[in-house]
């Protein structure tokens, strides 16, 4: 099977800290100083209340599968697309990797694993079964 090409993210001032974290093996989300609610994907403003008072939070990189679908056709197939609900609250759209995709199930515990992209761009946060 052919490897799937991972489109490189292009950090911008709004997202640079996220990608710096990724390069250091840390999954960061944002939290709101006004309403205290976290969000992902990270924005300068809070999507829950609109406040610009947001700050970066380091997550434990742990969560569980909310839903998962295995793509059976095309480049890199089979590969698993999933929403993972982080321990800190937000769901993240991601891939579940380094496993047999046929064994994946809703509710399964997973942990973050960063995977390299093209041309020295920052790695991206995927997840793998944590086995506990």
């Amino acid at each position: 099977m052919s490897e799937r090409t991972l489109t490189a993210p292009r950090p911008n001032p709004e997202t640079q800290a996220f990608w710096d974290g990724a390069s250091n093996g840390v999954l960061k989300i944002k939290s709101c100083g006004a309403c205290s609610r976290p969000h992902y994907y990270p924005r300068a403003h809070c999507p829950h209340c609109g406040s610009p008072d947001t700050g970066w939070v380091e997550t434990r990189g742990e969560g569980e599968i909310h839903s998962v679908s295995v793509m059976r056709r095309g480049e890199g197939a089979p590969f698993a697309v999933a929403y993972v609900t982080l321990a800190e609250g937000p769901a993240i759209l991601t891939n579940i990797v380094d496993c047999d995709p046929d064994t994946l199930a809703v509710g399964q515990k997973v942990r973050v694993v960063f995977k390299p992209t093209e041309d020295g761009a920052p790695p991206v946060p995927m997840f793998t079964p944590s086995g506990d």
Binding site: L6, T7, P42, R43, S67, Y83, L93
Partner: protein
């Protein structure tokens, strides 16, 4: 301001092509426009409002109005993915009610089988966080189906019944891409594309298009076509909401549907025919629940055993064969949903699938990615004498 009776659908046309290598995309728009205007008994010179979306080539309405030779005083290029054209019907009615136009033309056309087409504009705010995931519509809708099965015990057999019902209707449509009747077993035995969606859980890809003519009440009453009134409309969008609002089993139709029913002053039980956007089988099941045809979680039982088949089931749906079997031009099924609802209300559907005394219909759709960000639009249409 209510949109009830604010406007009427006087013209509806579905292009018969499903593969169009030898015609330009603008020309396909023009043929659809001509077809719908002829159906209404109107001409290009009568049009004073024009509606299109990103399937229209070039600079949207600015390019197309000039290409078609229109002289309009109102233009709208609202973009909500595949359900756009359902929303356009309501937006045309709003414009007519506000006195901004009297004859609104809506066109859709595209040739994804014959040319490479751009489906998305780059630079979305989520792009850097999601593009590498390789999310396609198959896995997006697949995750919704997985979650629906997890929460409610919905089965692949139940989803397959949606395809089976569509195929029963498509056999009577001479233009249908897939006119063969299929069984639940055949759906389940077709190749898995993205778990749990098989190839036959997915809609077709077609070149083609369609057009609608939405007119002011006095114009509708001056024409010789049956009166199909807009009785109610709703629209909504939904996304992951920063990751805290994710609920893959509920679509934006849970807001667009009830809004349309409230404006129309009718209930789901009053509906004689339903056009339900069918990009995938799961798309239909979730919308039927969200519109209130059954309780959330009850969709699997509701669609099983042929309940959507015209003549035998309780809720005849997509009697043209829908996107699952007939046509999904330019990856966009919204306009064909309205067109078949108009056929039913006029009594002009194929006799084998025509619903008797069909005086109230719903057309509802999802646009975008159900498992990520999507829009929904719903219209309730009424046959008047």
């Amino acid at each position: 301001m209510s949109l009830r009776n604010a406007a009427y659908i006087a013209g509806a046309f579905e292009h018969p092509t499903r593969l169009a290598p030898d015609i330009s995309t603008p020309q396909l728009h023009a043929e659809c426009a001509a077809g719908a205007l002829a159906d209404a008994g109107l001409s290009l010179q009568d049009v004073d409002g024009y509606f299109c979306a990103t399937d229209a080539p070039g600079f949207g309405p600015i390019s197309m109005i000039d290409y078609l030779g229109l002289d309009v005083r109102h233009a709208d290029s609202t973009e909500m993915g595949g359900c756009t054209y359902i929303a356009h019907v309501a937006h045309a009615a709003q414009a007519i009610a506000a006195g901004k136009c009297k004859v609104a033309l809506i066109t859709l056309a595209g040739r994804p089988r014959s040319e490479s087409v751009m489906r998305f504009r780059p630079g979305a705010p989520e792009q850097d966080f999601e593009q590498w995931v390789g999310l396609t519509n198959h896995t997006s809708y697949g995750m919704c189906a997985v979650r629906h099965m997890h929460e409610f015990g919905t089965t692949s057999d139940q989803l397959a019944w949606i395809k089976v019902a569509a195929s029963h209707h498509a056999q009577h449509n001479e233009n249908a891409m897939l006119p063969k009747v299929v069984t639940v077993e055949e759906v389940l035995e077709s190749p898995m594309i993205a778990d749990p969606l098989h190839r036959l859980d997915c809609c077709v890809t077609t070149d083609g298009g369609g057009a609608l003519v939405v007119v002011a009440p006095e114009i509708a009453k001056s024409l010789s076509r049956p009166l199909v009134a807009l009785r109610g409309a709703g629209e909504a969008t939904k996304g992951p909401s920063g990751g805290l609002g994710l609920d893959l089993t509920v679509s934006a139709a849970a807001r667009s549907g009830p809004a349309a029913f409230a404006e129309a002053g009718v209930r789901p039980a009053d509906i004689k025919y339903a056009s339900v956007y069918d990009s995938f089988t799961i798309t239909v099941l979730i919308q039927l629940e969200d519109l209130g045809f059954c309780a959330k979680g009850g969709g699997g039982k509701f669609v099983a055993d042929g309940n959507l088949i015209s003549g035998t089931g309780k809720l005849p749906f997509n009697t043209d064969g829908g996107g699952l079997c007939s046509n999904h031009p330019m990856f966009r099924g919204g306009i064909t949903k309205v067109i078949e609802a108009v056929r039913q209300l006029r009594g002009e559907a194929h006799p084998a699938v025509q619903v008797p005394n069909c005086d109230l219909a719903v057309a509802t759709g999802i646009g975008g990615s159900l498992g990520a960000r999507h829009g929904a639009a719903t219209v309730i249409l009424e046959r008047q004498s």
